[in-house]
């Protein structure tokens, strides 16, 4: 098979994927009290990964990101469920969350919430599900 000339795609992907990853992490962190969150952040990360798949091909990407996306789903789900039942330990109702202000180096005064952990679970699950769906459609003959 003759490969299409995808020099332009590859070159721009380096830049765009970088921006997409950065923005998706921003969205993920912003999610607690501003628009964003684990779901949309996960979708955007998955979009960046798909873009890289398109530019560099299946084999190369398997080496760059050696992640089993099916396992990512289960890990994400496990994190989400475990954080929501974490409240049992403190005698609080299911899905309770708490937050505290911390003084972090470089970043300054920041709010850290346990909801972020739940969101991390959502984030990983969304990446896992999206990538599993897209890759299984792509590898279908």
């Amino acid at each position: 098979m003759i490969r299409a000339n995808d020099l332009i795609l590859r070159t721009t992907t380096i830049l765009i994927a970088f921006i997409l990853f950065g923005f998706s992490i921003y969205l993920f962190l912003a999610g607690h009290s501003a628009p964003g969150g684990g779901f949309i952040g996960g979708l955007m990360t998955a979009a960046a990964i798909v873009l890289m798949y398109m530019a560099y091909g299946y084999e190369a990407m398997k080496k760059i990101i050696p992640v089993n996306y099916q396992n990512l789903i289960t890990i994400g789900l496990a994190i989400a469920v475990l954080t929501s039942i974490g409240s049992f330990v403190f005698g609080e109702p299911f899905l309770s969350q708490t937050f505290e202000y911390f003084h972090l180096p470089v970043l300054g005064e920041k709010e850290l919430a346990t909801a972020l952990l739940f969101d991390l679970g959502v984030y990983l699950t969304v990446i896992g599900v999206t990538m599993t769906i897209i890759l299984s459609i792509a590898s279908d003959r």
Binding site: N71, V81, S84, S87, F88, P93, F94, L95, S96, Q97
Partner: protein
């Protein structure tokens, strides 16, 4: 201890996730799946004990107060159904290893199985209409995966129908919730009930009620929306058919029961009379359908429909006897349908075909299986003293109290037709000359019978020990007839 209410949802969820990680180690997965289902059943029974002693458990998730948070309400009705669900699940999980191929088991069967249980329990426990939708989706997602498990050609064809009809009804469901929200401004069921009561259920609310009824009716397979049901339910593996037949339609019935005894109870002349009509047609067409085929699996599948008819009849009649009948029948039907699907599954496996014309004389090879089938036919048709009889008796009593003679006669006639359809399988499939061509597989038969015996034990107990259960069922019916109790327990006013 309000967190108790969420355990029947969370335990299967965690089990499903854990088993997905282990899915290649099939021996370990089987043992763990059986263990977790057992634990879940014990926990559910414990919750039922607590609920019976101290009243409903309300869980306001995230620590927000009732109308603002997502509430889970474990009252006696929902927890009774959760316990029944877990009894069915336990039987299925023991039946699965023999019935499924190793490939199917490895392909996340147990994960989807637990997701289904989680969704069903969630639908029973939630006190929030939008979350009812969410849990419907959870159980439907799991059921989509289960119905195509194995990926046979027939399965794919039938599953497209199944997925399409369910997608459509889910769309209608979420739209209807949006309508309802725009009118009453809340999705908390207790608060909806309160506000609908305040405005005395004006025309628009009755319209929304009927739309909701159609949504649930599609899931529950009522006339004329049942046409999609029989075939998709028989194409997957028997253990999956048993789960679907026992649980999925019953969730629809539960939703109707909850919504039309709690929220839309102010225009019963219209809504509930309408249900009686629907029930009549559902009974007739379902029973005729069961007689129309020679495929033994399809006979059982069609038998879901008249059972649903009986339950809707009770909701339509809307008095204490009839509602007790509906609840009794609901519990009875979950157990017996699972047992029957497992039974015909094993008959089809042992005889090598599900075509009744090609099966004969099975009782010579498998006497125990034959008599179990005979027993379950009697239980299903409602021959005294079995559980079907108690449910039907209460329903008929309720019907006569309301002077609805026609529906009573229809119910009696369709019971006869159901008995005929079941006995037909027994007479033609089990009696007759010994079929020497059948290769006897006693070991498989023994593995199949154990879960069936387990289910039938509960079924018989429910009938013979009716004295034990009836007071509780009667309590639930009285509780349902007084929606104030539910509203007060959730909103604590």
């Amino acid at each position: 201890m309000s967190n108790l209410a969420v355990l029947p949802i969370v335990i299967p969820l965690i089990s499903g996730i854990l088993l997905a990680l282990l899915h290649k180690k099939i021996q370990l997965v089987r043992v763990l799946a059986q263990l977790f289902t057992g634990i879940n059943l014990v926990v559910a029974i414990y919750i039922m004990y607590v609920v019976q002693k101290n009243g409903s458990i309300i869980l306001e998730s995230g620590g927000w107060d009732a109308p603002y948070s997502i509430v889970l309400v474990a009252d006696l009705l929902s927890i009774l159904l959760v316990v029944t669900t877990n009894i069915v699940a336990l039987a299925c999980v023991f039946y699965a290893p023999k019935s499924l191929s190793k490939q199917q088991e490895e392909f996340y069967f147990y994960t989807f199985f637990f997701m289904l249980i989680s969704g069903v329990s969630g639908a029973f426990l939630t006190g929030d209409l939008f979350n009812l939708f969410v849990f419907f989706e959870v159980l439907l997602m799991a059921s989509y995966a289960l119905i195509v498990l194995g990926g046979g050609k027939v399965q794919l064809r039938e599953s497209i129908k199944y997925v399409l009809i369910n997608l459509f009804s889910s769309m209608l469901f979420v739209t209807t919730i949006a309508f309802l929200y725009s009118v009453v401004g809340t999705v908390n069921m207790a608060q909806i009930a309160q506000r609908v009561q305040e405005v005395d259920q004006k025309g628009i609310l009755t319209t929304i009620a009927i739309l909701l009824f159609f949504v649930f009716g599609t899931k529950a397979a009522l006339f004329p929306l049942y046409y999609w049901l029989p075939k998709p339910y028989i194409v997957p593996n028997p253990v999956i058919s048993a789960l679907f037949g026992a649980l999925l339609t019953k969730v629809g019935i539960y939703a109707i029961l909850r919504v039309f005894t709690l929220i839309f109870v102010h225009d019963t002349d219209f809504t509930h009379n309408f249900f009686i009509w629907i029930a009549g047609f559902t009974l007739i067409f379902g029973a005729i359908g069961a007689l129309s085929t020679n495929n033994i699996k399809l006979v059982i599948s069609y038998n879901i429909i008249p059972a649903v008819g009986f339950m809707i009849m009770g909701i339509g009649l809307y008095n204490e006897a009839a509602l007790s009948g509906t609840i009794y029948y609901l519990v009875h039907d979950m157990i017996i349908k699972a047992a029957l699907f497992l039974l015909v599954g094993s008959v089809a496996y042992l005889a090598g075909t599900s075509d009744l014309r090609k099966i004969k004389g099975l009782i010579h090879h498998y006497p125990l299986l034959g008599w179990l089938f005979f027993l379950s036919a009697f239980v299903l048709a409602g021959i005294p003293p079995f559980s079907g009889f108690i449910g039907k008796l209460l329903l008929l009593q309720g019907g006569l109290q309301n002077d609805e003679v026609v529906i009573v006669i229809i119910a009696l006639l369709s019971s006869l037709l159901i008995l005929l359809s079941m006995i037909r399988i027994f007479v033609r499939g089990f009696w007759g000359e010994k079929d020497e061509s059948i290769r006897v597989d006693k070991k498989a038969a023994r593995a199949f019978t154990m879960p069936i015996v387990f289910l039938l034990f509960f079924s018989v107990l429910l009938g013979v020990g009716a004295e034990l259960f009836y007071p509780m069922i009667e309590n639930i019916a009285a509780y349902l007839l007084n929606p104030e109790l539910y509203i007060e327990s959730v909103l604590k006013e």
